[in-house]
Symmetry: C2
Subunit: 140 residues, 2 copies
Amino acid sequence: MVTRTDHWLEKLKSTDGRVTDARRAVVDVIVSSPRPLTPVEIFDAARKKHLHLGLVSVYRTLEKLEELRLIQRVHQEQGCQAFLRAGVGHQHLLLCERCGQAVLFDGDDLESLFSRISQQTGFEIKDHWLQVSGVCAECK
Amino acid sequence: MVTRTDHWLEKLKSTDGRVTDARRAVVDVIVSSPRPLTPVEIFDAARKKHLHLGLVSVYRTLEKLEELRLIQRVHQEQGCQAFLRAGVGHQHLLLCERCGQAVLFDGDDLESLFSRISQQTGFEIKDHWLQVSGVCAECK
DNA sequence: CTACTATTGATAATGTTTTTCAATTATAGG
DNA sequence: CCTATAATTGAAAAACATTATCAATAGTAG
């Protein structure tokens, strides 16, 4: 069985990268987390699998994974350090206020809104960023 | 003429705060900026009006203004340190990729999208955050 | 004008992220 | 399997950003 971890590591390898214990541990933690994690949280969790892991390697691995668009930084009121597996294509983020669980959903059509804004402001719209929060089924 | 700076300082005063040169300088800079500014940018600009201003006072003033909801932190790819005058009610942000100019626009009706997401995910939707970027009329 | 107390600026402390560098180790090719 | 090469590692130090401490200053109410 090819896990998502394997898939990510394969992608790393195919872009001139090497598959190391440090990276395997970091990737494993992120892949199996239902919620965004900060570098230190990743470090703490990954250290259980790879005892000698250094925090610096976590930062470096995150940088690489972000370049490969396998993970994304998550911006929240309480901070913008956490990372989550990235969505495919143009997906948006839904976060539970209680447990932090993240769900990615496909973007709806916001074209009519954008054309109105474009008209009103004279801007040429290039990109947008939508994030929704609430309470998940388990936390209700 | 009552400027927006005066209005902000008045609001400060009405919540047990004092109107000082340091705050006047910081507020002036933010109020008259068309784009989000970082603490250091605010510091540099405000120092021209108030020579003895300390960076720490900028941070403290920003904290107060954010509490009063007169300013808001702006999250961008390049960082999340910048602040901008806040919108009234539920407005969203439109940013120019070139010059950084910010425009606030009234939120459209996203209810149908939310009810669909709610149905699909079991979440109870509480809040959302929409930010749009593009190229403004002057930069096109 | 005075008393009170919020605010200030300087300094130090804290926390996060990046840089440096010698040692290690994954990988391709023999 | 062995070797050469170059990417990666972990530790320490450096660079940044933000917050706490504290005595001195200055707004404000009376």
